[in-house]
Symmetry: C2
Subunit: 478 residues, 2 copies
């Protein structure tokens, strides 16, 4: 496997292939989510879905195919998505009268349906989420992070007024932060996108942004206040209490299988994956050691542990394959399993087992009668430790004292010379799009978001030196 | 709402629209699964998925788009599915070099991947399931039962030998039977499809078949032993223990959102839906009665009940809308909610509530302190009663003493004259496809399956009178 420091992208591809999370297919930019990869998604789904339902949302399913004419109804939206659409032009041996796009997102189809479902203030709010496959025919793809087909959830809500819609937008962003931080152990910055980076058709876009180990950012989730843009495009009106016909205010919000990629790039190391216990398909791998007639005693004891751990809802597997212990240690480290338990005949004689932590590499000798409790405690400890480590990494690579484009250029060049990652830079911005564009042009750093709670407030624009209107995170990104 | 006896299809459409399970869309044959409809699917998914995992299967996700050339690799398969495929021919502004079909089922894509994943007997068995959207551009559509896009699960497994693959095929059929009978309260016949009705590319197809209230059948789930047909088409070979290169034996099995439609057609009545408690989105609807200053006392008491019921994991909702009790009774009966609880000021004075059962219409007066236990008991009782009722209905409309085509023709004509449903007919069959085809031609009855345990064994073929090789269920079907 390529080391991270040599070529991070190469390391990433090597790791996810070797750890059996995905495979390439003959369809351009489309991957298979193999069972270990898909199970990460299932656990993310469960964590998200539970919170969506607790906040009053329900799931529904809308058609995947969207008539061409629907895209024309919101000008910015069609401009944003048209270049990436795949089209169905024939079906059952006949040419279609109107081309149908594979959905890149469902604001248009859902907007059309909402216009028929919403008549009165009594019909509001509409709080619906959809789990679905979506398509964006991208030129450059990267497994999990950017593929032609991917899996996601998209929430679409309609409200009687702006205040309620804006509250919804931020509520869902907060749920994303919670799941991503608590379940995936990825610390994020919550904030608002600059106008040039917002969703095509939104009034305001908010995001949670995460830092990968190569210092690049991943937009881990977005939540949009759409104002009445789609309501006007699709004529979604309601009769309010005051007997006036008004447009609804809509929101949409999404997270996708790119969270799997983020998790790998945030926690992985040169030995392979490091998976957060809360979402790891296998939390504990049991490695029975020794051969001959003592092996059966060991295997029986291992079976007992497995039964006990399963009773405690620990996801445990046993590796009884005909390979050396050393080979198995490497294999399961590469697959990122949080805890390895080694049990041999001598351990049993001494009433102990050996536990190895994937996150720190630490080895512990544990009395047999404390194994179950120790494992349970460790799973929590590893989860917390992984989050804290990622938080420290993020802090160490967030630069808050770079104030001019010249300083940023120097920082980037010096990082390359020293072969360290350039990380993120907190910078002032006057609000002028040309200033933002110039940062990108010179450094390929783009604005990530305007954090709600920046570590400090910047006084001057990084490009023009004028008074800053906003304090913005800039970085390279996936 | 149209009565069932007047026009069953009309009744079905009226009911699912009015009960807010689905809506039509501008895309031909594609529907929206609205929250109450989709939640039925979520509960079916949970029940299935749990059992798939308990039997060692894992979920994965394969690309939705399938290259045209893949379909050519299994001759029967391409003939079976080609006429119904929608095609992507352009993407991101360019014409594709090879057309891509929207998957009608994934044997081809998965076969291609398995050929790369499977090398040795150590790689077997492969036990994978996929939850996905699929497409069949059908001429005649019927919401839930037959739509251009629908949701389903498709299991795809590969095995070292025929015996194991055949065991898998029947194991999954048994899981379907269990979920459909236990969760959806739909009794089914398990059996084998005749060659003319089997899956395109299968060696043997097995099905579970359910009887709707109009006497027509729905194929509720199918499981296929594919032999080495796809293994040969996609070159899926493994090196066996004996050091010989062999083709794997594959299976596939599927159930879909047509189960939602079946559930409605099996249990519904002229008042609307009747939902089995295990899958009903709302199991109990609370209707507070009375107005004025006593209303608050009633509402407080209702809130207490709701809290208690939720603690017991009962799915309960309260209808506090500004409508009459009678209107609400009709509304929730139409939506099929298993139990209605009415509570008014006078009930509270008498320390009692009124409970109404949707399945029987029965009303009970229950002491307040027994409400929770009564509701829990009733939910089970209703589930069992609905299954038994459906079982009796099936028995009453299964005709086992019709032995010739002439008798069948007379039975069909008489049923129409008497305006009763023709139901199913158990008939002998010599095994000749022309005899089977003649039944269809004359009566529009098709073979449903050859039941594993027929109520009796037929001696002669219904068409030619020769010795019967099989005893077969025939009926009209969706
Ligand atoms: Zn500026
Ligand atoms: Zn015959």
């Amino acid at each position: 496997m390529t080391p991270q420091s040599e070529d991070f992208s190469r390391w990433y591809i090597d790791t996810i292939k070797k750890a059996d999370l995905m495979d390439y297919t003959p369809v351009r930019g489309c991957i298979v989510f193999k069972p270990d990869g898909y199970e990460l998604w299932e656990r993310i789904q469960q964590a998200m879905d539970k919170r969506f339902k607790e906040t009053g949302h329900r799931n529904a399913y809308f058609p995947m195919l969207i008539p061409e004419s629907f895209f024309e109804k919101e000008k910015e939206h069609v401009e944003g998505f048209s270049p990436e659409l795949p089209w169905v032009t024939e079906a059952a041996g006949e040419k279609l009268e109107e081309k149908l796009a594979l959905r890149p997102t469902s604001e248009t189809m859902i907007g059309h349906m909402y216009s028929q479902w919403i008549q009165s203030y009594r019909d509001l709010p509409v709080l619906i989420n959809q789990w679905a496959n979506v398509f964006r025919w991208e030129k450059r793809t990267m497994p999990f992070l950017r593929t032609s087909e991917f899996l996601w959830q998209e929430g679409h809500t309609a409200h009687a007024d702006e205040e309620e819609a804006r509250h919804e937008t931020l509520q869902m962003l907060e749920i994303y932060r919670e799941v991503i931080e608590q379940e995936l152990a990825i610390p994020v910055w919550m904030g608002q996108k600059t106008p040039s980076e917002k969703f095509a058709g939104a009034v305001d876009t908010y995001s949670v942004e995460a830092m990968m180990k190569d210092g690049k950012a991943v937009q881990a989730g977005t939540s949009h206040y759409l104002g009445d843009n789609f309501a006007k495009g699709f004529d979604i009106k309601f009769l309010d209490r005051d007997n006036k016909l008004k447009f609804v205010h809509t929101t949409s919000w999404g997270t996708s299988t790119r969270l799997i990629g983020s998790m790998i790039m945030v926690h992985g190391d040169d030995k392979g994956l490091v998976l957060p216990p809360r979402v790891a398909p296998t939390q504990v791998i049991m490695i029975p050691i020794g051969s001959g007639k003592k092996r059966e005693i060991v295997l029986n004891k291992v079976d007992d542990f497995v039964t006990d751990l399963k009773r405690e809802e620990v996801r445990v597997r046993t590796d009884v394959r005909d390979e050396t212990p050393g080979w198995k240690f490497n294999e399961w480290e590469m697959r990122g399993v949080p805890i390895r338990v080694e049990i041999g005949p001598r351990d049993l004689e001494n009433n102990q087992v050996i536990i190895a932590r994937r996150d720190t590499g630490e080895k512990l000798t544990v009395p047999i009668d404390q194994l179950i409790e120790t494992v349970k405690g460790l799973l929590n400890e590893i989860q917390t430790n992984m989050y804290n480590k990622a938080l420290q990494f993020k802090a160490a690579h967030s630069h808050v004292h770079i104030d001019t484009l010249d300083e940023l250029n120097k920082h980037v060049i010096k990082s390359e010379q020293d072969q360290v990652i350039a990380g993120w830079v907190l910078a002032g911005w006057c609000g002028d799009e040309t200033c933002e564009a110039k940062v990108k042009e010179e450094t390929s750093f783009t604005s990530r978001n305007i954090p709600f709670e920046p570590p400090l407030n910047k006084e001057t624009c990084i490009t023009c030196g004028q008074k800053a209107q906003h304090t913005v995170w800039f970085s390279r990104s996936y």
